[in-house]
């Protein structure tokens, strides 16, 4: 995301250039904010058990279960906060609930 003056907003930007009040000038910019390191528990997708019922994807509060052509794909660990809702939603035990090891 850039400021009105066209300067890229990242952790190098100084106080003179940063947007007043932190206004957001771009739609969908939440994806730039990686929340994956908040995670203490990690959902692991067991592809062989998955029947692609897609009950998990809409329950994710962070859109971290990407669906492409009616099939779910691997977790987006950059944004998954490890809430575990998808683990409960899965009827086939195809999402394993493990400790996050860093």
């Amino acid at each position: 995301m850039k400021t009105k003056a066209g300067i890229e907003i990242n952790e190098q930007i100084g106080w003179k250039a940063i947007s007043p009040g932190g206004i957001v000038t771009e739609a969908g910019s939440a994806q730039h904010f990686k929340t994956g390191d908040w995670r203490t528990m990690r959902p692991v997708w067991l592809q062989e058990k998955c029947r692609q019922c897609l009950l998990c994807a809409p329950t994710c509060p962070d859109s971290s279960i990407p669906v492409v052509e009616r099939k779910r794909e691997k977790f987006d660990y950059d944004h998954c906060k490890g809430c575990g809702i998808c683990v409960k939603a899965c009827p086939f035990e195809a999402i394993e609930w493990t400790k996050e090891i860093k």
Partner: protein, 393 residues
């Protein structure tokens, strides 16, 4: 031609609002500021203004509505007092840090408890670090003039900060005095059309306001906000120059009253300055070298200028119409004494807490303050620096 009228402080503010004709006013009534939205609602009912008047259920909501409205790009105003200002607390910081130049009339009243509806500065002094510009007014004329100038100061592109225009509850807000009003067209041209730097209703630029700010960015935003407050010093000066050209009335960061060849002075805000000027005149007539410094702009705090103005004195008394409960003096005292620190030869300086909860302040009380300064000058010993004026033992 200016219009000669007689108005109360509240009427003067409501009249300034009418002349400015803001896009939105959102307010909740509280004594002694109630009359401001009350008079203004009559202007709305009479279609004398185009303003959208939002009557809300609390002051927290009033300030929230102001924030929403100003974010949308609308020139927005409100008025409050005392506990009303306290209930806005959380939102005051949001308005300032989101850089929204809301203009607010604060009619100073004591905070509870015990419950008290009369004048003191505990409300606005408590909000002094919320990031709002604060202007203080001695009388109805200054309240009117400050309110009109406040719009230009806050909205300036280098500032973009909200402004409180303070006056003493009842003493100023409900007393009718002569006043010189500007013509409607003159006010309209002076404040101009509001051109927000960014706004939610701009169809050419989609933005979101008030996002979460992580530790990696928050400090840069605070530093930038601090710079805006510094910029407000220069902008306030420029606006005052333009205002003087139109009205002949001169405004500065403070008024130095009879400060030439002065040995002692008191520092004071709002209506007590009027009382104290009378005492200064009496003492001057008796050959005493006394003066007065009336602070008009408390935020941003004109530290260097105040230091210069007081540097040549032998003894100074800073008057605080609010307790800070620091057990070391009131908020104005702390700032003024700190401003004098760079001097090699500092004046002796004491603090008087006075006029809490509307306790009357007379010329005799002010004379007592000068008498104590004369004693200090003679002995060169300030004694107890943290004092109370006219409190029963």
């Amino acid at each position: 031609m200016a219009i000669r009228e007689r108005l109360s402080g509240n009427e003067a503010i409501a009249y300034a609002m009418k002349q400015i004709n803001p896009d939105v006013v959102a307010a909740f009534p509280i004594t002694p500021s109630t009359e401001i939205p009350q008079y203004f609602s009559q202007y709305v009912a009479d279609q004398a203004v185009d303003t959208g008047l939002i009557l809300v259920e609390s002051e927290h909501s009033a300030m929230s509505a102001c924030i929403g409205s100003q974010s949308a790009g609308a020139r927005t105003m409100t008025a409050t007092s005392s506990c009303g200002l306290a209930l806005m607390w959380e939102m005051l910081y949001v308005a300032a840090s989101n850089r929204l130049p809301v203009t607010m009339a604060v009619v100073n009243r004591a905070l509870s408890g015990p419950i008290n509806i009369h004048a003191d500065h505990s409300d606005s002094m408590g909000a002094r670090d919320a990031g709002w510009i604060q202007l203080y007014s001695e009388n109805n004329q200054e309240a009117y003039d400050n309110f009109i100038q406040a719009v230009r100061i806050g909205e300036h592109a280098q500032v973009q900060l909200p402004v409180m225009v303070c006056q003493d509850g009842f003493i100023t807000s409900h007393s009718i005095e002569n006043i010189e009003l500007m013509e409607d067209e003159v006010v309209k041209n002076f404040v101009g059309q509001y051109e927000p730097v960014t706004s939610l209703l701009n169809p050419h630029e989609a933005i979101a306001i008030g996002p979460y700010d992580s530790a990696a960015y928050y400090m840069e935003h605070k530093r930038q906000q601090a710079e805006a407050m510094k910029n407000a010093c220069q902008v306030a000066k420029e606006v005052a120059t333009d205002f003087e050209a139109l009205t002949g009335r001169r405004y500065d960061y403070f008024e130095a009253y009879r400060m030439e060849d002065t040995e002692t002075a008191i520092v004071v805000l709002n209506s007590t300055a009027g009382t104290a000027k009378s005492t200064v005149d009496t003492l001057r007539a008796a050959g005493k070298k006394v003066g007065l410094l009336k602070i008009r702009m408390f935020r941003p705090f004109p530290q260097e200028e105040i230091c210069q103005a007081l540097a040549h004195l032998k003894a100074v008394a800073v008057m605080d119409r609010s307790e800070g409960f620091s057990a070391a003096g009131g908020p104005v005292f702390a700032e003024v004494r700190s401003a004098l620190y760079p001097l090699e030869q500092r004046p002796q300086i004491i603090n008087y807490i006075y006029g809490l909860g509307g306790r009357d302040v007379t010329t005799q009380h002010i004379e007592m303050v000068y008498e104590s300064l004369f004693d200090i000058m003679e002995t060169n010993d300030p004694g107890e620096v943290y004092r109370y004026l006219s409190v029963r033992e």
